[in-house]
Symmetry: C2
Subunit: 323 residues, 2 copies
């Protein structure tokens, strides 16, 4: 049984300090853990501290910090050397989605830590059961999948691989409640996890309608922003049916399921984006037209939105109170 | 070209004053229209005034009313008699999803109004092109699909049927911007419209994972609440890809599409609900367990959430500014 007062004694590590890794480091600092950050890429090492500082300031503006900014920064150590991870009880890997690179990272983590150290991956692309094979004592390996910004969403997806033992998985699940998350806990390692599976089902149908010319990208986005967006944070998908009274869904599912796309092909609009090396707001070339200024404005306004939606999400009833 | 000052001169009608019809009446009142409400069912006639009053109060608490509550109620007339619709330029039908009943309603609307009166249906189940066949002068008929609560979301889906003329459809699209909506405007009448198509694609995958035991209903809801829920109101679905940088989606779509459910069957869990006459929060029997008190609490807390998310949705950048 973990207690609140234990948290500052539990050292955590984050390997890979890109946007997501930095954001996870910020989340763990805010939760009260000492954080050891390892940047296997030198450029990340330079950017990590300013980036984490910026994220902590955003958290401060959002009312998430109990102590001063310098207190949290005092709990953070950054290095290119994996030796810094020595006393960590949990190390979160957050590097690119390439098995060979992750494998090398796991080798370095395990060489620097004890065999009881729990190792987790933020992967959303590679099955946990496959990554696990790259790790000595694979029973202590599992998936911890965060959403961006990690310190400002309640989302966390904990996934066991085929060889993950109950003990480390249950420990992480318990620990995650001290991070102010409402984690899902997947006992089986399914392809794409839950979130991606659900979202890609929407993407498949959306691109199908767009390719048929039955809707344009603005129509798709307006629908999701203003219909789903007006209730999804409150009630999710299944509870929505209960709230609407359930009665019509039997008929509606029967009528609509056969109409839906079963495509297995990458939509042509997305193939075109890949060929053009479009990076959306990052290079002002995307599915929408942008100027560089507009791209920056969207990102800034989103930081403000994050703050507000997180506050809302914290006020709504929990689906499964943690005892 | 419609001007703000014209709105109080444009009489609107709503036929069918259940939860949704009342909510649409409230939305039209708030926009500044005189509203003539017709209740074809006597029990709706009794409940309509208290329900609309309650909805207007909710709107007032949400800061949406420019004038006093009594001003808006003064713009509302309710009757069981279709004759009240005489001078309406737009009549919104909002009765049960049964073609024969709607057909009878259209007969009564057209008998009481001029042939130029635009008639719209809130249907989400029956194609506009089919309903249109039940209406004399079908070129003035179209779909206007609202989300609940109609006065407190920015969602509106305008759909042309095969015979709908441009003029009334463009007029409604223009008018809807005075209702504080960001409407989608579908030139083709597709089965399930955009919103339902997208949502049912998610439902198909969600029930697939639940039936396989790979996720439970709480997992599905937590994923949607805290992942999608943390960004969807801000950026919708397609803009999301731009915001994430697009690069990984080509590979991810290719990998995940073949994993998704292509089921055309009603999920067994939903069949069971239909057999048990489960009505979710309405009879405290649903996909989740509820006490009656809990069901009431969820509904009340949602009214509060609505207010907040609407405020957030109004602050975010528009996808397609209306000129």
């Amino acid at each position: 049984m973990i207690k609140r007062k234990d948290i500052p004694e539990i050292d955590t590590g984050v390997v890979g300090l890109g946007l997501m890794g930095s954001s996870i480091a910020a989340a763990l600092l805010i939760a009260g853990h000492p954080v050891k950050g390892v940047a296997p890429i030198s450029s990340d090492m330079e950017q990590a501290l300013p980036r984490i500082t910026k994220q902590l300031k955003h958290a401060e503006q959002s009312g998430l910090l109990k102590y001063s900014l310098s207190h949290y920064l005092g709990q953070l150590s950054l290095s290119e050397d994996f030796g810094i991870l020595k006393n960590c009880r949990l190390v979160q890997e957050c590097v690119v989605e390439t098995t060979s690179i992750k494998s090398e990272v796991y080798r370095k983590i395990t060489a620097s830590t004890r065999k009881e150290t729990v190792i987790s991956s933020n992967t959303s692309a590679i099955p946990i059961s496959i990554l696990q094979e790259e790790v000595p004592y694979p029973e202590r390996f599992l998936g911890i999948h965060w959403a961006e910004p990690a310190y400002l969403t309640r989302f966390l997806e904990i996934t066991k691989g085929a060889k993950t033992a109950d003990k480390p998985a249950n420990w992480v699940f318990e620990l995650a409640h001290f991070w102010d998350k409402e984690p899902t806990f997947l006992q089986k390692d399914i392809r794409g996890f839950v979130t991606n599976r659900l979202m890609y089902a929407v993407y498949r149908e959306a691109f199908h309608l767009i390719e048929l010319g039955e809707a344009d990208i603005e129509d798709v986005d307006k629908s999701f922003r203003y219909d789903a967006g007006s209730w999804i944070t409150y009630m999710g998908l299944i509870k929505r049916m209960d709230m609407l009274g359930l009665a019509d869904f039997g008929v509606a599912l029967k009528r609509l399921f056969p109409q839906l796309s079963n495509s297995t092909q990458v939509p042509s609009i997305m193939k075109k984006m890949v060929e053009e090396e479009a990076r959306g707001v990052q290079n002002a070339l995307g599915l929408y037209p942008y100027t560089k200024e507009e791209a920056v404005e969207w990102e800034q306004a989103f930081a403000e939105f994050n703050k507000e939606i997180y506050r809302l999400a914290k006020e709504i009833p929990s689906l499964q109170p943690y005892k």
